[in-house]
Point group: D2
Chain length 345, copies 4
């Protein structure tokens, strides 16, 4: 059994990790780190865990965490960077859900996060935890920068088209819609039920940090620098991201041809489901699962591909992907504990 610690266990990404790990056949939850709920049974903080998980929250105690094999860090920014080097030092594998270890180039991080990086050496070592693109490096990694939710959805949606050279790298637009769990459990007027329900809005237009992650990976696909327009939206649902991605094409293609291209590209990926031509993803099909669904339509009048990709922002976009990374690092079947179908209802 892999001994696991979840630091920041009572946020939404953290608690989804706890939920997934509580049913994982090869992992054991040892530590539920939480400053705010130190000493409280997790089943009091989240009533759904009654009779399922008999563990108390505790504040960070490095000695106790050191007995684990892996730590998932779902901490606020800053906290993450301070704690992780100490964990690595003690021999743990670390899968970090913050933005701190997702970058190839420290300057990109510092530009978008408006702060100096406190562990640039570790950043260099860290691996971007998107298994569909970096599986082999993940297997050997000590430190994973687990990708953001918008990011995973958008990168996997656009990658094959850019990699193939059929998609043009300029004029790429990613219009993404996210459920409210993406904002976390912290209080804020925009997340009050009466403000959220029956409401849709765009936010941080042309300014969201995930832009830089998407560009980093799509630039690799295209073999040249890709700059995109990325627009996040908040929609009145808990789980789910839908990215609608617009890419101009270098040559005439049909919906069927691009669908075939995508099916081929992802043919060995359990967690990517390319829809048949004419069928499009819905967030309901992925909610509660680690799947990314992708559908492609060619807008033939303008020779532009419209790619729609969907995932569950706290599952494949956070906790599920973190477990997928853990599985790879520890030599398990990548699907272990996360192969389930989504809830649908």
């Amino acid at each position: 059994m892999i001994k696991t610690a979840v630091l920041g266990a009572t946020g939404y990404a953290g608690i989804e990790l706890v939920r997934i790990l509580s049913g994982h056949p090869d992992a054991e939850l040892k530590i539920l780190g939480s400053q705010s709920f130190d000493g409280q049974p997790i089943s009091e903080v989240y009533g759904n865990f009654g009779h399922v998980l008999d563990l108390n929250c505790e504040k960070l105690d490095l000695e106790r965490v050191s007995e684990c094999d892996v730590a998932f860090t779902a901490l606020p920014h800053g906290a993450s960077k301070d704690v992780i080097p100490l964990l690595i030092e003690r021999g743990l594998k670390v899968i970090d859900l913050s933005g701190d270890f997702r970058y190839d180039d420290v300057r990109v991080y510092e530009e978008w996060y408006k702060q100096e990086h406190s562990a640039p050496e570790l950043l260099k070592e860290s691996v971007y935890g998107l298994p569909e693109l970096h599986r082999e490096e993940i297997k050997k990694a000590r430190l994973i920068g687990n990708p953001g939710c918008y990011t995973t959805c958008s990168i996997l949606g656009a990658y094959p088209l850019l990699k193939s050279g059929i998609g043009k790298p300029d004029n790429i637009i990613v219009d993404a819609k996210s459920g409210v769990t993406g904002a976390g459990r912290g209080l804020g007027l925009p997340y009050h039920f009466c403000e959220c329900t029956e409401n849709t809005k765009a936010y941080k237009v042309a300014a969201h940090r995930h832009t830089s992650e998407i560009e980093q990976e799509l630039s690799k696909a295209a073999g040249e620098e890709v700059i995109i327009s990325f627009t996040p939206h908040l929609i009145p649902q808990k789980r789910g991201i839908l990215s609608t991605i617009y890419v101009n094409l270098n040559k005439k293609c049909t919906t069927e041809e691009l669908t075939a291209l995508y099916k081929d590209f992802y043919k060995n990926e359990y967690f990517v489901r390319v829809k048949d031509a004419g069928i499009l993803p819905e967030t309901k099909h992925v909610a509660g699962s680690n799947f990314v669904d992708i559908g492609i339509v060619v807008d033939e009048r303008v020779n532009r591909a419209v790619i729609v990709s969907a995932l569950d922002n706290i599952f494949k976009g956070a906790a599920g992907q973190a477990v997928q990374n853990m599985n790879l690092i520890f030599g398990l079947d990548e699907k272990t504990g996360i192969s389930n179908a989504g809830f649908y209802l």
Copy 2:
């Protein structure tokens, strides 16, 4: 592996069964019965099953079903009664999710369902599939009448109080609130999104069939005939039932005393979680799980207990309980495949 058939697999109770069984370690899905989607892959009907379950829907073929060990029948009324005798004849265990086999007394069925029962002999043999009350009979049963959703929630909420003799059997009121999955996938104006959302209403006041099931079981608890007022409500959410149950008391009691009574009564039940005094259930804590949460408050000014019980109507109120019954019949640990925490998010 237990070979299973789900007849009526594409309704909401059916598909939740399919979802649960697709992750059950000791059961194998062999047949997905569906008249409407005969020949279609289940993953086309419910997109969440892509890459998870590679089975086609098929219309009823008794020979094929006969190869299974157990059939779950989630069929419309009538259909159920015609098919089940044939399945029993062929040696299958049958767990029926309709109302047809839930009654001790055929006259009660006929009064509330306004039709003659076509298999009264089987009705006599059938066992009411509420494991917390009828576990031993279930283990030996060939045919289970799987309880209704309102019913399970309300019976388990009121039972200990009546059984103890502390609750008075008259003046019992059950005010229940249900999510919309309870109405099934069939189309109807009341279930149109724009009619349901931002709407709460009562329906079938003093006339809902589940009344009779609740009365049947509570009468056993009380040792005398119990007649209740039962009011179902439709609330704008998918999953979840909350029953608020009012029972006058034969003697002065405190919230703490009744809470202790309930904790003791259910002390060996994994799937019943009695909340500490002062804490009340929420549907969010049970959604996606087989748990029933119960909280008790004594309204001391009138010496009346207010019991609040919550469950997920399509899980513990339908599909999950059906699997719990299957586990018992086949000698498995009752929790197998359904021990998970609820979704919360």
Copy 3:
């Protein structure tokens, strides 16, 4: 034109008042009192008022408020009691939306609100602002205690039955379900979108302050002391309260007879709509309007009436009723500015 001030204009009840008054033909909004948004245009705080209302929020300035004819006080408890005497002194009519001036007996207030009342003389003078029951006193009042949302819904639902002597005053149960606007705009984890949506729960069972208001008015109807069990619930919608009220009957009655009784009782009330026998209220029918819808069913097996009443908690349950009271005080047609149909959509 009646010159109006809304103190506490940026809470939910306050802003609904502002919305209604901004369309009222005989009232003029002069003062939008708000501590938190002092100096800000209301259209920045609530974007829906752009181009409609060109007023800034301001903190309390008694001199400025004194130029108004009427003040609506939608202030937190305590604040209300301190400010109101000063307003009355300056000759304003005051319609108070807090609980401070709703009681006939100061001891009841002090028992349920756990504090001494600072203006018992004014409390004595104040009129309970439920026009359907106290219209004539309201017309002459200087100070109105505007009823609570649960209260209005429940009192109007049960009143005729108790007044007629047909309903028994003991064993009355009020099971009420409220939308989230009832909790106001303040932040709190239970009102976070992801905690509220897909969730229903009971709260403050046998302990909610509105109990005492309901009892006060129903005791008048019954001519003897009435003690009820009142259970509030939170349901995942913005607007709307549905009260399901259980009253045992002194004699055999049919649904049709009681419906006729109610229709007669409310025959001159524009804002009360008694549904035909067999039809039940839905919150969607009253949302956005000043109507209370009432339906009655007799549960003949137990000779108990089940009365379902519905209203919009921030309209008839707060702001709309306050305007109805203003209309009465200033000699206008009671319906002025609030006669509209609900939104439905």
Copy 4:
């Protein structure tokens, strides 16, 4: 008083018209046309109209309709085209909410609607009812093609930028999100509550009919043919459309400059609210009102404008705009009966 008929009164656009007209000071509702509910009081079909509107639905009777001054036709396609010529013949003004009379060029209609137009002469005469662009022609029109919901939102969002010559006419992308009322009251599995809630999806990608309307008007703005990519999405709310529009720029501009351009362009328009730089529209701010809110951000890294526009699809996107057109035709202040703030809650 203008005598009005609403044909197709019981669909969602129709009933919103009825709601608005029931509060319009200069209009009188005479006819509520409905095939399905012929003879039924409207307050039985829509419970929110009890005590407000005492009219029965009736099936089409041309003689009776002829007594009106104006007919709003909210009929299914086809029905519309057959009835309208007869109404025009009888001297009524007609405001048609279908797509039949929105086109300058009959060929565009026939291409996108896949059918021959049965009244091409009337089509030629009809005026596109977007008052912000065609006010003067509307005032003199007999027949209005009332614009679609996506259309109004998207055209008003992009128009100033194209008109100014700053926006490039190629590479325009309109990514639009719509509430479910846009799909009407007809039954269909995608509109079942349990299928809609917690779900977001794109549909009719590169194939939605409103594309052609948007292109028609934007081509006029640009002075050359504009071909766009238009992607509609269904989001889990009742009311509201948010269009996110991407337009490349011919020259470097700042957010502030383009905001100033928009403010100037719409400076005389009550119903268009251009947000200050840095503020973005939300559907909640326009729901229940005739406003269109527009915000602009320049994505400076790629010199592209991202314009976000929001409206209420059944108000400004259908019924409210129809009333605005009626007001213009009959010489009233354009705002009469529709100047109200949105609901917010």
